[in-house]
């Protein structure tokens, strides 16, 4: 039905869609939880924040889980190499994520303020660490990751955990944190009531332009100081997946795709301008539009990162030929095709019932409602 090359391209897009789904949905609850101590001064205010996301955080998190599963199914080499190579970074994310499901569920099960404060800390840190690490990981992809394959395609990572924490990657990490905080704030100004809403509004108006600035800074750094990668042998887009059958060379910068397709410059333009629009819409008290604008800016940022790296998924700084690209790190044609049909069937269904669940739970969470009907809320 589809040829191998098309399937590989489609799956590159689909993984992008899942990552965007994750960042847009789970992104706002990560952001809201990071803002918990800052925007929620009293226990009721914190419960307002938590209850805006209470019915949805679990469904949102599945975007992340499914993106992981899709990586395993569609790009097994990327899944194997990235998860084992970034061992401690991944475990850090995992240990941090532990505190979210139980934090949400257990926090308000006891009246003790100490108990609740501890869970609030867990929720805040548990949301901050993944946001930071995902940004750091993306930053390292631009720099290249020190791994190689042996003759039987066994991946070995030769760097250390600390090497991941270099200045450029940390800048990307910071950008990711600010992006999700800003997104969380646009959610809270739309869905929270009382003082929390006012504070969220200030936060959104402030952090959105910060995101633009950080993106410009990271972009300039990338253009001026970071060499790129290119496939130096002929690109065979429908051969069996064997990364070692190509050769790779370093280039001056990562902007070869932009030279070939100048219309791609729209992506960085959107990525920088949309957060400013978010800020403007926030000041105009158009909260629904501000949230939409924030979601679109996240989409632009992820697409920008993906297309800049294209066709690379995970370049190797140690052994250039080991670099993983979307042409040589995928599953077989049959698996990609079957999984495509599964996605075509299920994703519209998922979107439909997800929208229904938001529709049913829509409305501002007011502090008075929490205080008068304590048992029905988290």
């Amino acid at each position: 039905m589809f040829d191998y090359e098309t399937l590989r391209l489609v799956w590159w897009l689909l993984v992008g869609v899942l990552l965007i789904g994750f960042a847009v949905t789970d992104g706002f609850d990560l952001g809201a939880a990071m803002l918990l101590p800052l925007l929620g001064k009293t226990d009721t205010e914190r419960r307002v924040i938590i209850n805006t996301i209470a019915p949805h955080w679990d469904g949102n998190q599945v975007w992340f889980v499914t993106a992981g599963g899709a990586l395993f199914a569609a790009w097994p080499l990327v899944y194997a190499t990235a998860f084992s190579g970034f061992y401690w970074a991944m475990l850090l994310v995992l240990f941090a994520l532990f505190f979210r499901p139980i934090g949400f569920e257990y926090r308000s099960k006891m009246p003790s303020q100490r108990w609740r404060n501890n869970w609030d800390r867990g929720l805040c840190i548990g949301s901050f660490v993944p946001a930071l690490v995902f940004g750091v990981a993306f930053g390292n992809l631009f720099l290249g990751v020190p791994f190689s394959f042996d003759e039987f395609t066994r991946p070995t990572y030769s760097g250390s955990f600390w090497a991941l924490l270099n200045p450029f990657a940390l800048l990307c990490g910071l950008t990711s944190v600010v992006m999700l905080i800003s997104h969380g704030a646009t959610w809270l100004q739309m869905r929270a009531g009382g003082e929390v809403q006012m504070r969220a509004r200030t936060t959104a108006a402030l952090t959105a332009p910060m995101l633009s600035l950080l993106l410009i800074f990271a972009g300039v750094w990338l253009v001026t100081a970071i060499p790129g990668y290119e496939i130096s042998s002929a690109v065979i887009s429908d051969a069996s997946s064997n990364p070692l059958s190509k050769t790779v060379a370093r280039t001056d910068d990562w902007f070869a795709n932009f030279a070939t397709y100048p219309q791609l410059w729209l992506l960085p333009a959107f990525a920088v301008v949309l957060p400013l629009l978010t800020s403007l819409l926030t000041k105009l008290a158009l909260y629904g539009w501000a949230f939409l604008s924030s979601a679109l800016s996240i989409t632009a940022i992820i697409l920008l990162a993906g297309t800049t790296l294209f066709p690379f998924l995970m370049p190797s700084s140690l052994d250039l030929a080991s670099s993983l690209t979307l042409w040589d790190a995928t599953s077989s044609q049959l698996t990609l095709e079957i999984m495509l049909w599964v996605v075509i069937f299920f994703v519209p269904l998922i979107l439909a019932y997800t929208v229904w669940s938001y529709y049913k739970m829509w409305g501002r969470v007011e502090p008075e409602a929490i205080e008068s009907n304590s048992i029905s809320f988290y």
Binding site: W57, D58, V65, S84, F95, I102, Y106, T335, S357
Partner: protein, 522 residues
């Protein structure tokens, strides 16, 4: 090459995190269906008490569910972090069910669980009931796909080895889905989950009845649990796992180990009820045998043989020698001697490549293995017999005690005397740990019995790990152990607190503890 210690520690980490995860999953599977049943009764009869039951047991469900979600994340990460070569080698086949599990099951379960807890006032009664059913169906779908993945590890069908990509690739998705091992595992495992949910409700209801608290609430819960539990335990036992042991060598080895059956006996074989397996001398001491029974159970016939361990080892040795040839040809193919002759020769023996890889533990080059190493690798194809032999007996004994408990509970409930029968209530209360004992031992038999393979006959566990250091593993195990211990203490504490409160936790003013000041003395 990876050190033996790293392999051992990776196995320990996976086993501990999987067993821990599986403390919570079966209760989710069973309780979600019981909630759906209770709420169905509520919608049909419009009696408030059934809504209260759904909400109260739903609270306990939520405390359990949160840790299920938490520890499930570990399972998804861990294939990549700790079993990187596995992930590469079989991701083409194994990744698909995991991704489908996310799309088909997790989204359904997780989206609607939010509406289950917070949608009581926002949904119509029928809408909320549908939501509850969708949560139950979603959690059961997830069991289906994870067991299709696990069934493939036990009996890898529908795939072939591609030397160009150096991995297994799918050639029939329907074979992967309709893998007989996966199908029996699914039925067996979800039924075990239903038993767990039923026993949980049965025991706690028995506690309330013993204490004479919220009797009407507890009796209705007890009745649903005893009926649902009885049907489920019968399904676990009758539709048990054993029919899956006919397929594939790994399953045959497992069956022989469960029975500590060293020799191949003429059909129908005797069943070893109990005895002392002796791995060193390949005998079972003090064995008590029941004639014909094993042959009947395992092959469902009187004339098919059950292969003994010694014969299985001999068969493995032949395949290991073939595997050495396959490995040598693979090296040629990968190093530029890719011609028709080598391809033909390789495809003749490529099914035995996995057996060649077993030698990796003894010699890096495989093709230069000496007789002694081949013998050692062949002996290695049999897991330690005694642990499997014993855990199987513990599992089966737990199952039969539960059958007895549920049957008695059901009988007395039908005669409306259960609340006046203290010995029965105590039996139910003290049976609480049994489903977990049965489930954890069952898991152990399935996965420890699969050794030395990560993927049966395809990929030895020894070569499946990531290239990590021992220090990495010690530290991550310490991290998991401390966090998981902390979470378990918190979870059990919250469970006990809410069990003590009973339905009064709903703060409706209708239940005993709100009127009499609590069950704090329990």
């Amino acid at each position: 090459m990876v050190s033996e210690t790293v392999v051992e520690l990776s196995r320990w980490q996976f086993a501990l995190t999987a067993l821990y995860h599986f403390l919570f999953v079966p209760l989710t599977l069973g309780l979600s269906f019981m909630l759906a049943i209770m709420e169905s009764v509520y919608v049909m009869t419009n009696k408030q008490i059934y809504k209260d039951m759904t909400r109260f047991w739903g609270k306990l469900f939520g405390i359990n569910f949160a840790l299920g979600v938490t520890t499930g994340l570990t399972m998804e990460f861990q294939f990549g972090t700790n079993w990187a070569y596995y992930s590469h080698y079989v991701g083409d086949v194994f990744g698909a069910p995991l991704a489908i599990e996310g799309l088909m099951a997790f989204f359904l379960e997780s989206t609607f669980i939010g509406l289950f807890f917070f949608g009581w006032d926002r949904l119509s009664r029928v809408q909320h009931l549908s939501v509850t059913w969708l949560v139950a169906i979603g959690s059961n779908f997830s069991a289906l796909w994870i067991l299709i993945a696990n069934g493939w590890m036990q009996n890898p069908v529908g795939a072939y080895f591609n030397f160009e990509t150096m991995r297994m690739e799918m050639d029939s998705f329907t074979e992967v889905i309709f893998n007989p091992v996966a199908q029996v595992k699914f039925v067996h495992t979800v039924s075990a989950g239903y038993v767990t949910g039923a026993m949980f409700v049965l025991s706690i209801s028995a506690l309330y009845l013993l204490l004479n608290k919220d009797v009407g609430f507890a009796r209705r819960s007890f009745a649903i649990a005893s009926a649902f539990g009885l049907a489920s335990i019968i399904s676990v036992i009758i539709l048990g796992d054993e029919s899956g042991y006919e397929v594939g060598d790994v399953q045959k080895v497992k069956l022989a180990a469960i029975e500590s059956e060293w020799e191949t006996h003429p059909a129908p074989a005797a069943f070893t009820l109990i005895g002392l397996p002796d791995q060193e001398n390949q005998t079972t001491d003090y064995a008590v045998r029941i004639p014909y029974l094993l042959g009947l159970i395992a092959t469902r016939s009187t004339d098919t043989e059950v292969t003994g361990i010694k014969d299985l080892i001999t068969a493995s040795e032949v395949r290991i020698r073939n595997g050495m040839i396959a490995y040598g040809l693979l090296q040629k193919l990968r190093n530029g001697e890719d011609n028709a002759e080598n391809r033909a020769a390789f495809s003749a023996v490529s099914d035995d490549l996995g057996y060649g890889l077993l030698l990796k533990r003894f010699t890096e080059n495989v093709v230069d293995a000496n007789e002694e190493q081949i013998k050692a690798a062949a002996r290695d194809t049999i897991p330690q017999v005694a642990p499997i032999f014993w855990t199987f007996r513990i599992m089966v004994a737990s199952g039969f005690i539960m059958l007895l408990t549920f049957a008695t509970a059901f009988y007395y409930t039908a005669r409306r005397r259960e609340h006046k029968t203290p010995w029965l209530l105590k039996l139910c209360l003290f049976s609480l740990p049994l489903p977990w004992i049965a489930i954890e031992t069952g898991w152990f038999i399935a996965e420890f019995g699969r050794q030395p393979w990560a993927i049966g006959e395809i990929l030895p566990t020894y070569v499946a790990t990531s290239n990590l250091t021992e220090a990495d593993l010690w530290m991550s195990i310490a991290g998991f152990a401390s966090l998981y211990s902390l979470f378990l203490v918190i979870e059990v504490y919250l469970m006990m607190k809410y069990i003590r409160k009973g339905p009064s936790a709903l703060e409706t003013g209708r239940y005993d503890n709100e009127q009499q000041g609590g069950l704090q003395h329990v």
